[in-house]
């Protein structure tokens, strides 16, 4: 598809000269290319390439939204699509509340490309498949393993944004990642699994160089040994004790109990019937002790390599680092142009859509928990009675994002400052605010990493989107563990 055709289609979609009552329009043309490679138990499971291109048009008519999307990309169909979106917006007007009134912003003309070293789509497919097969063979050569898998995926997203305010933005985002699992299945559901670098793999806005940086081969011995240990390990005991979490499990905790509850559309009830609401209502802003003094969290779509990094969101707003929690105090939310004025703020560029076909929603970008000053080793050494849990397996949190139960692949009981017996199915539970207020140590910058979540879900129709969480290991006191 030529850039010229895309530009003409985008311009046609946001041309409001000949229609009345429409105060705003934007159009996204998105061209996604994705490659999936996976090898399981010695055989290729997936080897595929997928492409999708189309456009989505959003309009504001008398303060009400309408949206329509289509794979037909021509200036004529773009105009028809805009008119259809206008019809839909007029239907929304039958049940309108306070009319949406966007503060005008100056149109932006800009372009951005993820800084990459090696374009993953220029690496021969055979080379990538052979690498996955090589890793899987190394896993299968490990004693005891009978369920192995290696997966990698690469995504290029050319994303154009046009608005009736004059914006023309062209972004090219690359996402790459890989991971592997070492499993032992004993039948009757008696199975254990260890992953590397984390469950589901590690993903970043990066090129193929990420796979070299992940040093996947170096992780194999460790996860194989831990899978064997898990097979013999007892179930996690039930008790209340000190909890030390690995960075990737802190990432999940941040995602579920800080990122989601601070999406301002959710806070105002937009997901009440599906993805839930939030306890963190705006009356708490500037007042709620969300966490201990150590807890500093921001939303940062500018973070290098973060899976939720970009230059402009899907409303054309420039990416910026925004504080959410400062020294434990709630100070901000993830916002959009529509919601931000309700708390006296301006959008911090959190509106994103899965593809051209979907309506942008407020989504996490990179939610960053600032590192602290204690190493993981120190945290364990200072713990008399506790558990260290690594790598997410399960999560569930109530509809207001308070009462949660999360679990990891492996746990080690801590006694007298030393790691002891391995336990399987380690889970823990708590209440969001109590839990973050019990945080008494956060890992150092050297242990900090932005973990990628490739498919966070929200909205109807369901939209999975890539987010990042910057975290280091952390420690929490008086936590209930065990199922």
């Amino acid at each position: 598809m030529s850039d010229s055709l895309i530009e003409k289609s985008g311009a046609a979609a946001v041309d409001l000269a000949k229609i009345s009552g429409v105060t705003y329009a934007d159009c996204r043309v998105v061209h996604q290319t994705e490659e999936q490679i996976s090898v399981r138990n010695g055989a290729t499971e997936t080897l595929s390439r997928a492409e999708s291109i189309g456009l989505g048009v959003r309009v504001l008519v008398d303060g009400c939204w309408g949206f329509a999307s289509s794979a037909e990309l021509t200036p004529e169909s773009a105009t028809e699509l805009r008119d259809h979106a206008v019809e839909i917006a007029r239907a929304s007007g039958k049940l309108a509340g306070e009319r949406v009134n966007l503060e005008p912003v100056r149109g932006v003309v800009a372009s951005y490309r993820t800084p990459i070293v090696k374009n993953p789509f220029e690496i021969p497919l055979k080379e990538k498949l052979d690498f996955a097969g090589h890793l899987d063979a190394l896993l299968r050569a490990q004693e005891g393993l009978n369920q192995t898998s290696v997966a990698m995926s690469f995504e290029r997203e050319r994303r154009f944004f046009f608005s009736s305010e004059g914006s023309k933005i062209d972004q090219e985002i690359f996402r790459s990642g890989a991971g592997m699992t070492a499993g032992i299945g004993g039948g009757h559901g008696n199975a254990v699994e260890r992953s590397y670098p984390t469950s589901g793999g590690q993903y970043e806005t990066a090129g193929y160089e990420l796979l070299e940086r992940l040093q996947l081969e170096a992780g194999i011995d460790k996860i194989a040994e831990e899978a064997r240990a898990l097979m013999q390990a007892p179930e996690c005991p039930q008790k209340t004790c000190t909890l030390v979490l690995s960075g990737d499990l802190v990432s999940l905790q941040v995602h579920e109990s800080i990122g989601h509850p601070l999406e301002l559309d959710r806070v105002y009830g937009s997901e009440r019937n599906f993805s839930g609401t939030s306890f963190a209502t705006p009356d708490h802003l500037g007042k709620l002790r969300y966490g201990s003094e150590l807890v500093n969290v921001s939303a940062d779509p500018t973070a290098a390599g973060g899976l939720g990094s970009f230059a402009f969101d899907d409303e054309g707003m420039p990416a910026k680092n925004s504080p959410l929690i400062v020294n434990g105090l709630l100070v901000g939310y993830l916002t959009s142009r529509e919601t931000a004025p309700r708390i006296g703020a301006v959008s911090n560029a959190s509106m994103r859509a899965k593809s051209w076909a979907y309506l942008p929603l407020i989504r996490m970008t990179n939610i960053v928990l600032a590192p602290g000053d204690k190493t993981l080793k120190q945290m364990i050494a200072e713990t008399d009675d506790g558990i260290y849990i690594q790598t997410p397996t399960t999560w569930s949190i109530d509809d207001r994002r308070e009462n949660f139960q999360l679990g990891g692949e492996i746990g080690w009981l801590i006694t007298g400052g030393k790691l002891g017996a391995v336990v399987k199915n380690p889970v823990y539970s708590g209440n969001t605010v109590e839990f973050w207020n019990s945080c008494d140590a956060i890992g150092t910058a050297a242990e900090y990493r932005i973990w990628g979540t490739p498919s966070c879900g929200k909205g109807q129709p369901g939209q999975t989107i890539a987010t990042g969480q910057g975290t280091a290991p952390a420690r929490f006191t008086n936590v209930k563990i065990g199922g």
Partner: protein
């Protein structure tokens, strides 16, 4: 695109020779959806896409390419990409090849022109009725009205040519007060929008919300619970994920592995994958073009069968039951139309015959807790009530639930005689309400 035009276009593009085989899957999706929250339509969309999923096999090397352009030359281009991928592929001795399948029986009741033509204005009108009913009761309305139209065609070079068109209308309503401490939920789903009983959905959600005002805490413990049909459907979905797919069965991960013929639940539990049940009218073939079979999964508590696609059937020494998912899905075969056999007494009587128990409308955010025990974790939501002497005594604050599913289905004391059609995660299920003893409920979510 018209059926004949589409099938001819796909047949033309799937012609192959020299040991090459081609399979083309066409999926066209149109979704029109109005979401509302706090009495206002806040998201109102219509989206349309069509995808071609081309699999090309060169002997036992298979490549998959996906595109969303459907002009003849674009389909040829997608086939060419799949061929290039196959050329880079390794041999897979388990690959069963593509075969010619007989044309599946038509499923005319799956498509309704009334549903396909249901407009944004009509959706808004239905939602307005819900908002007015909620407002009258001092409640706020949130939910969605969704119209889906889907066409699937599967054509391959050996000669398969399947076509299916379906529609679905779904109306879901949460009625809640300002703090959401009181909330009621109900949903309706029909192929034909004219059969959707929106009034019943509205009445149920409003009545539940009103009854759930001022919920009280209830101590953690193991209780007799009465699960409404939606709650049963949510748990059944996960039971299917964990056990009824031929992929997890062939690899030994399924709880059904090595248990065939054994009693794994109570004798009053029968679960059938039944795409031909008229209430569900499922797709009569799968994404490999194989006609679907009705598969008894559990009969009177005894493990009887799982569903297969062609690859996993070959691995397990079985035959495909016609349950392949789209080829870009690596989960393996899955039963998308499970039905639990109905019991003999009305749901109202299930409640009326309960001396003490907890009535659960549905669950929130279920996920696996302990796979070995087939155990889940989630919370109750939108109407949890204490039942005493056959009547609602008072609402209770939502609680965390951690049922181990096989053990739970071994303690079913009563099953209702009516079932609802319940859609979730691309499945449509037919499920009754039921009473279960010894159900673990943990700490409450303290929403008050």
């Amino acid at each position: 695109m018209e059926k004949e035009t589409l099938l001819k276009r796909l047949a033309d593009a799937s012609r192959a020779s020299d040991g090459k085989q081609i399979e083309l899957v066409y999926i066209e999706d149109r979704t029109a959806l109005s979401r509302f929250a706090e009495n206002v339509i806040h998201q109102n969309i219509e989206q349309a896409d069509h995808r071609i999923l081309a699999r090309v096999s060169l002997g036992d090397r298979v490549g998959l390419a996906v595109g969303n352009a459907v002009e003849p030359e674009a389909i040829t281009g997608t086939v060419q990409k799949a061929t290039e991928i196959a050329e880079n592929q390794n041999s897979d001795p388990d690959f069963p090849g593509f075969i010619a399948s007989p044309v599946a029986p038509p499923a005319p009741s799956a498509y309704s022109s009334a549903t396909a033509g249901f407009s944004a204005d009509q959706r808004a009108t239905a939602i307005k009725t819900a908002v007015e009913a909620c407002s009258k009761a001092g409640l706020m309305a949130s939910g969605l009205f969704k119209i889906e139209t889907k066409t699937v065609a599967v054509v391959n070079s050996p000669g398969t040519a399947q076509y299916f068109a379906e529609t679905a209308a779904e109306f879901s309503l949460t009625a809640s007060d300002d703090t959401a401490a009181a909330a009621g939920w109900a949903t309706g789903y029909q192929r034909d929008v004219d059969k959707l009983n929106a009034t019943q959905v509205i009445d149920t959600a409003v009545q539940k919300a009103v009854a759930s005002r001022n919920p009280r805490p209830y101590p953690p413990g193991e209780y007799t619970v009465i699960l409404e049909p939606a709650a049963v459907g949510q748990l059944l979905l996960f039971l299917g994920f964990l056990g009824f797919g031929g992929g997890s069965f062939a690899s030994g991960r399924s709880f059904m592995a090595r248990q065939m013929g054994q009693l794994i639940t109570g004798e009053n539990i029968t679960i059938i994958e039944d795409p031909f049940a008229p209430e569900m009218a499922g797709m009569p073939f799968d994404y490999e073009g194989v006609p679907k079979k009705r598969v008894v999964l559990i009969e009177n508590g005894i493990a009887k069968g799982v569903v297969f696609d062609r690859l996993n059937a070959k691995k397990a020494g079985m035959e495909s039951t016609g349950h392949a998912l789209p080829p870009d899905n690596s989960f393996g075969p899955y039963p998308r139309n499970m039905a639990i056999s109905a019991g003999t007494i009305p749901f109202k009587e299930v409640i009326a015959t309960t001396r003490e128990g907890v009535l659960i409308t549905h669950f929130w955010y279920l996920n696996y807790l302990n796979p070995r025990r087939v155990q889940m974790t989630g919370t109750t939501l939108d109407g949890t009530f204490l039942i005493k002497d056959g009547k609602i005594a008072h609402p209770i604050i939502n609680m965390r639930a951690t049922p181990a599913l096989l053990e739970m289905f071994g303690r079913v004391e009563a099953i209702a005689d009516e079932r609802i059609v319940y859609p979730q995660f691309n499945s449509v299920m037919l499920v009754p309400g039921m009473k279960i003893t010894g159900f673990a409920l943990g700490e409450d979510t303290d929403e008050g």
